[in-house]
Each structure stands twice: as C-alpha cells, then as structure tokens.
C-alpha cells in the first residue's frame, strides 16, 4: 500500500516538474532577478560604473521623483478614460448585437477584429488616421467643417488620441464578454417585467445590469491590468510625447531601463508600480464587490 502511495507521489512529481520548471524559468527567476536588480546600481551601457548594492536608493529616488508620479498619474488618467468608455460602449454594443435582428451574428464577428490585431499594427493604423496633414481622421472632421485636430502632436490631445485607439481595440473585449453573459441570462424575468410593464430603462438598470455586474467587474479587472501595461500603441503613436503628455508607467520604466540604462531604477520602478497597481485595483474591485453585496441586502 505504502509502496503504491510512494510511487503515485513520484509520478505526480514527474508530471508536475515541467510546469514547475517552466514557471520558475519564465516567472519566478525573472521576478527574483528584477528584485535583486532593483537594489543595485546597474547601468548596462556604462560598465565603468560599479554595479554595486545600493540598498533602497533606487526606491527612494523613484518615490521622490516627479516624473514617476507624473507617469503614474498619466497611466491612471488613461485607464479612467479607456475603461469608462469601453464599459459603456462595450455594454451598449453587446445589448445591440444580442438582439434577434438580421446580420447581428456577422456584426458580432466583425466587431471582434480590432481585438485580434497586434497592438503595434493598431498603433500604425491609428498613426495613418491621426497623421498630421495627411491623416484620414482630420479629413473627415474637415468634411463636417471642424478644424484639423493635432491628435498626436499636441499635449492637449495626445492622451485622448491614445485612449481612442485603445478604446477601438479593446471595446470588443467588453462587448464579447458582456454578450456572452447576456445570452446566458434566463429570459423569463424579462417576460415577467414585460407583463408587469417595467420600462426598458428600468429593466436594464435593475434587472440586466445587476446580473451583469459580476461579469463586468471581471472584464474591467482584466482590462485594468492590461491598461496598466499599455506600451505598444503609445510607442508607435507618440513615444510618450509630446512633452511628457503620454508618458505612462511602462514608458517611464522603459526609458529608465533602456534610454538612461538604469536597469536598477527601472526594476525598482516596476516593483513600486506593481505594488501600487495591485493595492489600488484590489481595493477598488473589493469595494465594488462589497457595494454589490450591500446593495443586495
């Protein structure tokens, strides 16, 4: 008996090993290495600078750096813009495409296309649209008599321009998840509401939305994590500029690590932002879930 148990354990171990190894090589080792790096002075381009242990110096520098907090704020601004619009549009479109109308199945598939495009390509597509002078967007705006907007070349518009591109790409994600959730809702409560005479808005507000809430929270959670990491689109469209208008956290970290070559500072910034985002997002979503529970009581 104990013989078989031991053998079973060994077999279990053999099956687990590859997963554990892959996890270690791809996740744990880089994390630990980055943590180690964050306590060091490490300039990749300047080997003559001693790569020594500097304690919390990198962390202190970040936490007293205006640029870091600017990047953090810009990231949250962008998140707020994209997430809110994606939520409203995504749910709206989902409500539309789940109607039993002709062509909706096709529309639903077509709407998923932006999501399947690589962010760099999305960036390039929008670069063509935004391109000063030659961009299509300004051409169309011009047709309705509005002046050209310096989309990606003004500090006022650039972040909005990035947000629009991101919204275009990721609204389908919310749409898809919401549509799936909508279709899994049982139809009877809607018939009951129809008979009771509840208005469409009331039905949406009090019947549909509360039932979608858990799904929407999960979708937003995933989007929030993604939005915090946004890089490709910004790199293609503005590279953080003009000025520092679109300098989000990932670009700040990139600049520290690969322009100033301060790998230690970059690593420390990664950790600080990781902690901040984890705490804030957890707090935010916990409170959302709690409000849902209390609302139900």
């Amino acid at each position: 008996m104990s013989h078989t148990a031991g053998r079973n354990q060994r077999i279990a171990l053999i099956f687990l090993l590859p997963a554990v190894l892959i996890l270690f090589v791809t996740t744990i080792y880089p994390m630990v290495y980055a943590l180690w790096l964050s306590f060091r002075n490490y300039d990749l381009s300047k080997p003559f600078i001693p790569r020594i242990f500097v304690g919390l110096a990198n962390y202190l520098e970040i936490l007293t750096s205006q640029a870091f907090f600017h990047a953090l704020l810009t990231t949250f601004k962008l998140m707020a813009m994209t997430l809110s619009v994606q939520l409203v549009l995504g749910v709206g479109i989902a409500l539309l495409v789940t109607q039993k109308l002709p062509g909706m199945a096709v529309a639903r598939t077509l709407l998923l296309i932006p999501m399947m495009i690589s962010p760099v390509v999305v960036g390039l597509v929008w670069l063509f649209l935004y391109f000063p002078e030659l961009g299509y967007l300004n051409y169309f705006i011009g047709l309705v008599g509005l002046g050209p907007v310096p989309w990606i070349t003004s500090t006022r518009w650039a972040l909005t321009a990035i947000a629009i591109a991101d919204i275009w790409q990721w609204t389908p994600f919310i749409m898809m998840g919401t549509a799936a959730a909508l279709q899994s809702l049982s139809p009877e409560p809607y018939e009951a509401a129809r008979i009771d005479g509840n208005s469409r808005w009331d039905v949406f507000r009090y019947v549909t939305l509360p039932q979608l809430k858990p799904v929407l929270i999960s979708l937003l959670f995933l989007r929030a994590i993604d939005a915090f990491k946004i890089y490709d689109i910004i790199y293609v469209l503005t590279k953080g500029g003009p000025g520092d208008a679109t300098e989000v956290m990932s670009l700040y970290i990139y600049r520290q690590s690969f322009t100033f070559w301060r790998m230690g500072v970059g690593a420390a910034a990664s950790f600080v932002s990781l902690i901040i985002i984890t705490v804030l997002i957890t707090f935010f979503f916990k409170s959302m879930q709690r409000s849902q529970v209390t609302q139900a009581r």
Partner: protein
C-alpha cells in the same frame, strides 16, 4: 544519379582549389560580417553594392537597416553581449563617448595611420575625424559628414515680386538670412495659406515659413536646439565642474527663439521628427529650414524631392545671432568595428570600411546623383560637383571654423532630458525656457555629480585625435 554525384564532387573540388588559389590576394575570403546599420543615406547608398566588395575581397557583408529611434539601444545591448552578432556598427558621432568609455569600439588609429595613403587620410576634413574620437582614439570612421546650415526655397527668395513685397514690408532686401532675426522675418513672410500666391503662382498646399524639429522622439528637438544654442554663443558644459551648464542667457535666448518660430511652422510642430521635418522641405511646403545636411542631397534630386521639380533648393551657412559668428557644430555618421569581434573579423571589417568610405565610392555616389553628405575635401571642392550640389560649398566652408558635437558618455541623458523638457516648453506646458533648461540640466547633473571632478573633466575634454598627429 552518378552524374549528379560527379557534379557535386567537381564543384567542391573547384571551390577548394579556387580558395587556395585566391588565398593571397583575398586574405579574408570567406569571412562573413554583419552590420547593424541605419535606414538612411549613409547606409542605403552603400547597401545595394556590397556584392561588389564581396567580389573584390571574398568578404560577405550583410547589412541590417533599422530606424534611428532605438538603434543606439540595440547597439548598447549588442556591445554588452559577450558573443556579438554584429562586427560592424553604424555610429552617430555623439555615441562615441558612450560606446568608447564602455570599451565597445575598436580603436582604428593604428590601421588608419598604416593605410593613410590608401584611405586618403589628408583628404578628410579634420573635424570629421575628430568627431569620431574618444580620448584621442579613432573609434569610428566617417561615412557621411554633416554640418548645421540653412536650406531654403531659392525659387521663392529669388522671385522679383516676392523681393519687392518683402522690401516694402521689412525695409531690407530679401536674401538668404544672415541673422536669426532675418530668418524669422523670412519665415513670417512666406507663411501662406493654400490658394494664396507664392512666386506668382497659387499654392495648392499650405506653405509654412519654416520647418524645424520640435519632436521629443529620440531627442530630435535636442539635436536642433544644440546648434541653435551654439549659434547664440552657448555650449554644453561648465569647463570648471564638468557639469551641464545650459542655463545661461545664450541658452535661454536660443530656446525662446526656437519657440518664436512656432507660428510659422506646421501646426503639428511637436510631431516634427527629422524625416517629417525634412519632408516639408522636400515637398516644397516649407520656405526654409535650419537643419543638418544629412538629407540635403535629396533636395536637388527630382527622384527624391518634389521641390526639385516645382522649385529650387538653396543653401547657406547658419545665420548668426547677436553673439556674432560662432563656430558651428558638425556631425558625422560613421562606421565602427565591434571591439569584441575576432582579430580576423576586425581586419576584414576595416577592409570594408576603407572600401565603403573610399574616395572612389564616395565620388561614385556623388556622380550617380543620389550621394550622401560628403566629408572629403577633394569631392566637396570639386567645381563640377559644387555646381551639381550647391550645398557642397556651404558644407566645406562652414567646417573651416567648426566644433565637434556633444560626445559625452552621458549623451543619452542630455538628449532625452532636453528632448522632453524642451518639447514641454515649446508646447507651453513649462512656462519659461529657463525652467525647462534647468529641469533638464538638473536631471543630467543629478547623475553626473556623483562622479569625481577629475572624471567629469576628462569626459568633457576633447583630446586631439592621435590619427591627426604628424
């Protein structure tokens, strides 16, 4: 089947025999070199003809062409790798200090001296060689020489009606600007809307008075600002401390002057990266541009610039400020050898550099009409070529009294910090030029100040090139 085997055998024998037979005049036959290059004139011209070099020497050269933004990042990563992929590196002269201090580049002094005659060392404008040195060592070899100068639409500036109107409005004759004040007047004068007349013809596009780089991407704005501030009498460093000293009156005036040109620039000026900026000039949509000569050759080539068909490009030395004539900044785009390559690869790479930068090849580029911004006196002073490329004379003359560009190991900190801060100032985010410049300088100095004074002073010292010593 038998026939096929025989053929293979014959072919391999032929290769073997051929290899032995050619060993003497092709000592590097079979060496393969990879080059990390840029997708711009200094590489695009030579890339299509590397087959000729292979035929001559048996050295196979493969060139990867990348855009300028991000290229230095890849070179740094490449330089920090213990088993490099690239033996040949394209180097912009400001990178020499960074890569030199890291020991990433092979010193070519001895080789250049040994082959002085073959490469025509005396024919090269001295400051172009100096540009590529670090602590006196020659770490890259010029492949394209640059100067900061003004380019303008000669057809408009020489138009009689325009000249008359200009005189009426500004009270002096319309001519290539001698001063920055004139440069701005000309920019203002030629800022016109689509449909208005320019040179007697209605415009089918908006005409901008000037086209300058204001983009922060890869410090494009910094590269424009530096020669401006030089022209206003400023420089990079405090010679006593070795720290960034770009906050004087001259520096502030230069930044303010750049900002005063914005109304005459395209509305998306903050997005004007080099290629976009020079595009306005190439399409004839800008009346003038103070810019590096790196792409000037395109302006007179109808295949590369509409301007050559709808108008005419003119060139002149950089205007001067109240500070009077100043030595302007030069620039060089060069080829370097990765210090971590094997000796044989280094020698082979040097053979390639000699060939690719030789007077023969350079002259061929010039003759073919495309060409690159040149660095050889013999070519730049050739009267026939000067006629064909009006900017050659400006390029040659302005280098008589010129100063090399920034070469500090912390060059990237300068480029990036000034790029962001100046871009913010131009966008109106930072209220004053002084604040923007101070922010940028402080950021740079926060990194420099931890180093000993002695080291800092060494970094800003331009040791004369050993290769130029007689």
């Amino acid at each position: 089947m038998v026939q096929w085997k025989t053929m293979v055998w014959a072919a391999s024998m032929a290769t073997l025999l051929g290899g032995t037979a050619l060993a003497d005049d092709k000592p590097f036959a079979g060496v393969e070199l990879k080059m990390l290059g840029i997708g711009d004139t200094s590489v695009t011209r030579v890339a299509p003809i590397v087959g000729e070099f292979e035929k001559q020497t048996g050295i196979k050269v493969h060139i990867d062409q990348l855009p300028y933004p991000g290229l230095i990042d890849k070179i740094v990563v490449e330089a920090s790798s213990s088993s490099p992929t690239y033996q040949l590196l394209w180097v912009d002269s400001p990178w020499v200090g960074l890569l030199g201090e890291a020991g990433a580049l092979e010193d070519m002094t001895a080789r250049a001296k040994r082959d002085a005659k073959e490469i025509g060392l005396d024919d090269i404008i001295p400051v172009q060689l100096q540009e590529n040195t670090w602590q006196g060592k020659l770490l890259a070899f010029p492949a394209s020489g640059m100067i900061w100068m003004q380019q303008y639409r000669a057809d408009l500036l020489e138009n009689a009606d325009e000249q008359a109107n200009f005189k009426k409005k500004y009270g002096y004759d319309l001519a290539p600007a001698k001063t920055w004040a004139q440069y701005r007047d000309i920019a203002e004068f030629f800022t016109r809307k689509k449909g208005e007349l320019a040179g007697g013809k209605p415009l089918d596009f908006d005409l901008y008075g000037a086209s300058q780089s204001y983009s922060r991407v890869q410090g494009a704005i910094t590269h424009d600002y530096f020669p401006f501030m030089r022209s206003f009498g400023g420089d990079y460093w405090d010679p006593k401390t070795g720290l960034c000293a770009m906050t004087s009156d001259a520096h502030v005036k230069a930044a303010e002057y750049m900002k005063s040109l914005i109304p005459f620039n395209p509305p998306d000026y903050l997005g004007l990266m080099w290629d976009i900026q020079s595009g306005f000039m190439e399409r004839g949509e800008a009346a003038e541009a103070a810019y590096w000569s790196v792409r000037s050759v395109r302006l007179t080539n109808p295949k590369e610039a509409t301007l050559a068909t709808i108008g005419k490009a003119g060139f002149a030395e950089s205007p001067v400020s109240d500070a009077g004539p100043q030595p302007t900044y030069t620039g060089t785009l060069g080829f370097a050898i990765n210090a971590k390559s094997s000796d044989k690869e280094k020698d082979a790479a040097w053979e390639f550099i000699k060939w690719a930068t030789s007077e023969k090849i350079m002259r061929r580029f010039a003759d073919e009409g495309s060409g690159v911004s040149q660095f050889r006196k013999s070519i730049l002073s050739d009267p026939a070529l000067q006629k064909k490329y009006p900017y050659y004379k400006v390029l040659l003359d302005s280098q008589v009294n010129a100063r090399r560009r920034i070469f500090h190991p912390f060059y990237q900190d300068m480029e990036e910090n000034f790029g962001v801060e100046l871009s913010k100032y131009m966008a109106g985010e930072t209220p004053t030029a002084l604040e923007a410049l101070s922010n940028a300088c402080n950021a740079v100095n926060s990194r420099l100040s931890i180093f000993p004074l002695e080291q800092r002073l060494r970094w800003i010292q331009d040791v004369p090139a050993e290769v130029l010593a007689k």
